[in-house]
């Protein structure tokens, strides 16, 4: 045993003689940090760094089986899911690791912003951080594409349609992104290269620089209201603080980082175990049209924004908003590199973070709950509740058939079944008179197609006769008072109905 120890010591000495890493590492490990920064608020950055390594590790394992070819990708994911022991768990870890990483990076960023940590002399750290955020999002997006299922098609389709709006060079950019005019094998190769070589390489490099600067410039001190940052005095003040009221980084602050990172890894594992991997969804075969693709969670809000914007606003918004957003983030440390750090005295900053968070949450919520696409098979699969067909005249019953045959159910539900693009028709007769119903069906309006040319007069009559029966038993159908009066006037009052 002592012999082995001595041998190890000799190997270490041999390496150290050449690498000379001991001193800088010791420096970094023992450098003093302000006592009050050893706080649970400062653990998000290291957690993001840990997740990056989890992603690299699981990603390498996945790449051993994944085949980046249009014909094989989908199958190789199913092999992972079903034939390789714990392959599904590996995929789940990578997928949930990605979700956690996006979330943690965003939280880290909000915290740094609120704590004023981007101010002098940490401007460049912030700027690299912005690029790291963009790369994280790029990884999330390109990773979803590698699944190459219908959702990937969907995400790519939206991405391509955004890019194609760039004036003049839009078409060329789409070509560059997809490796051709359409989504095909070349698209997958391109995204594989991005996801596995280009972005991770740039990301590792940036992350190391980012951490290097954190170590060199020191961890941001806990912001005190009234303690202003000024270029002339900040560094001296900081050094004084760390010497008078400081702790060695290890273990003073480091143990909290370790505990939190461990907790995050455990959370990823639990999510992976309980919720399982993402997809792959339906096969990426455009000839299968019975599908309702959905984008991944983090990109849902873009979908919501796109569908709520008036069409004239779409292009300017899509092209200007992201560029403006990134420009603002990059300019921030130059615009506000000195002054107050504490959020107690920065109401605008707090307001900005809250607004962005609330907007994002609301848009995402809308994106998950709004029924965007029609139910493609409702017309032939969703029966009308039997009670609604009870005691109908033959004509009204024929109208119910027309309602199914003309696929109205794909957008309108009855009895809770059917699409939700349009309003449920359960009690439509209480809202509209026969004439209004006829008019709506023939002329459409809103997002309702006009059926005038696609229905024969008997079909329209039957349909409206059926719709007129859709009201609760205790609530009579709507009627037109003017018409009612005319009818009553025409009838001698004596004749009972």
């Amino acid at each position: 045993m002592p012999g082995m120890k001595r041998a190890a010591g000799r190997v270490y000495a041999w390496l150290e003689r050449r690498l000379q890493l001991a001193a800088p590492v010791k420096d970094a490990v023992l450098h003093p940090v302000p006592r009050n920064t050893a706080s649970w608020w400062y653990v998000f950055g290291s957690a993001a760094f840990t997740l990056l390594f989890l992603q690299i590790f699981t990603g390498i394992l996945l790449a051993l089986v994944y085949v980046p070819s249009a014909g094989e990708a989908w199958n190789s994911l199913n092999v992972l899911n079903h034939q390789i022991p714990l392959g599904w768990f590996l995929r789940a870890l990578h997928g949930w690791g990605s979700n956690f990483m996006v979330a943690i990076v965003l939280i880290h960023m909000a915290q740094v912003f609120l704590f004023g940590a981007y101010k002098f002399p940490r401007e460049l750290t912030w700027i690299l951080g912005v690029f790291l955020l963009l790369m994280t999002l790029g990884m999330a997006f390109s990773g979803q594409v590698l699944r190459f299922d219908q959702d990937a098609y969907w995400g790519l389709g939206i991405g391509a349609s955004i890019v194609s709006r760039v004036p003049w060079i839009g078409g060329g950019l789409v070509h560059l992104l997809l490796g051709g005019p359409i989504i095909a094998g070349a698209t997958l190769s391109r995204f594989f290269t991005l996801h596995v070589f280009v972005i991770p390489g740039a990301m590792l490099l940036s992350a190391f620089l980012h951490v290097w600067m954190v170590l060199k410039l020191g961890i941001n001190e806990w912001p005190m209201p009234g303690r202003l940052v000024s270029r002339a005095t900040y560094v001296d003040q900081y050094n004084q603080l760390t010497h008078e009221d400081g702790l060695p980084f290890v273990p003073g602050a480091f143990w909290k980082d370790l505990v939190f990172s461990g907790a995050i890894l455990a959370a990823v594992a639990v999510c992976a175990f309980v919720f399982g991997p993402y997809g792959p969804g339906g096969q990426p075969d455009p000839s299968i049209i019975q599908t309702v693709p959905k984008p991944d969670f983090f990109f849902l809000w873009i979908y919501t924004v796109l569908s709520y914007l008036p069409p004239a606003m779409e292009t300017p918004f899509i092209l200007i908003a992201p560029i403006a957003g990134i420009a603002i983030l990059l300019a921030l440390p130059f615009y506000a590199s000195e002054g107050e750090k504490s959020w107690h005295r920065r109401p605008v900053a707090v307001l900005v973070v809250t607004t962005v968070a609330v907007c994002w949450a609301v848009l995402t919520q809308l994106g998950t709950t709004t029924p965007w696409s029609p139910h493609m098979s409702a017309w032939s699969s969703d029966p009308i509740p039997v009670s609604r067909l009870h005691a109908l005249t033959p004509l009204a019953r024929a109208g119910a058939v027309v309602l199914q045959a003309k696929q109205c159910r794909n957008c309108h539900s009855i009895g809770g079944l059917g699409g939700e693009r349009g309003p449920a028709l359960d009690d439509v007769a209480t809202r509209m008179t026969m004439d209004q119903l006829r008019f709506k069906v023939v002329t459409g309006g809103g997002n309702m197609p006009a059926y005038g040319k696609n229905l024969s007069p008997p079909e329209i009559e039957a349909l409206v006769t059926f719709l007129e029966t859709l009201h609760p038993a205790n609530e009579p159908p709507a009627y037109d008072p003017a018409q009612q009066q005319a009818i009553e006037a025409a009838q001698p009052s004596g004749s009972a109905p």
Binding site: W88, V274, P383, L395, R397, A398, A405, A462
Partner: protein, 237 residues
């Protein structure tokens, strides 16, 4: 130290053994829609909305009526499902006719309906008129048909050009469907079969094949009197 190692190994073993049971274990991949060969699934996805769950209580004819299943032959069933009934709301389902189902799936539907809904001796020994009209196009006698209608149907269906004798209604229903309904009845909505066509649904002299031809021809003349015919609309989809 040893404790930790044993614990870890045990944990791994549990995960490995129980991984099929883990809540996150992915379900089997969806098979392509055109590879589904299960009758219940196919029927529910493609037919239930119009013909009703279990072949009854839908707006269109009740395919689950044992008398109907005894009346119709396999070839006709397959023909209607594959190609639809032109000029009516019954769509074509075969891929060859623009639908979504493969020939194998159409066969599964035919066989499945037979298995689920055909009953022994559905007619209780009686011999009904044939499913298809004797001569193409229901070449019966409209005049006689009107008389038979008045006697056998009008008692339940109001006489004065209302209900099923209205041209609007008849423009939406084909002659074959009328035949099928008159002969096999629609127990789910109370329409009697050919043996019970009399006010109150009592057993009477069954309608003869000639009677059925005549009534369908008569109702056909009411339909063609209407200004618009559905066949001009292409029906189908």
């Amino acid at each position: 130290m040893r404790c930790v190692a044993v614990g870890l190994a045990a944990w791994l073993a549990v995960i490995l053994a129980g991984c099929r049971l883990a809540p996150g274990h992915p379900p089997d991949p969806d098979s392509r829609p055109d590879q589904v060969l299960d009758f219940a699934t196919l029927y529910d996805q493609n037919c239930a909305a119009c013909h009703g769950r279990n072949g009854q209580n839908g707006p269109a004819i009740d395919l689950g009526n044992p008398e109907y299943q005894a009346l119709i032959d396999d070839a006709s069933l397959r023909k209607w499902i594959a190609n639809g009934m032109p000029g009516t709301e019954m769509p074509a389902f075969a891929q060859s006719a623009g639908g979504m189902l493969t020939d194998a799936q159409v066969d599964v539907l035919v066989a499945g309906m037979r298995k689920a809904w055909r009953a022994q001796d559905a007619f209780a020994g009686a011999a009904p008129p044939a499913y298809a009209p004797a001569a193409a196009g229901n070449a019966g006698d409209a005049q006689r048909g009107q008389q038979t209608y008045q006697v056998r149907c009008a008692g339940c269906h109001k006489a004065g050009g209302e209900d099923i004798a209205s041209s609007t209604y008849l423009s939406l229903v084909g002659g074959q469907a009328l035949r099928s309904i008159i002969i096999a009845g629609r127990p789910d909505i109370g329409q009697p079969d050919w043996q019970h066509d009399a006010p109150g649904g009592k057993a009477v002299t069954p309608l003869s094949a000639q009677d059925v031809d005549d009534i369908v021809t008569y109702l056909g003349t009411l339909r063609s009197a209407a200004t618009t015919t559905v066949s001009a609309q292409g029906g189908g989809k």
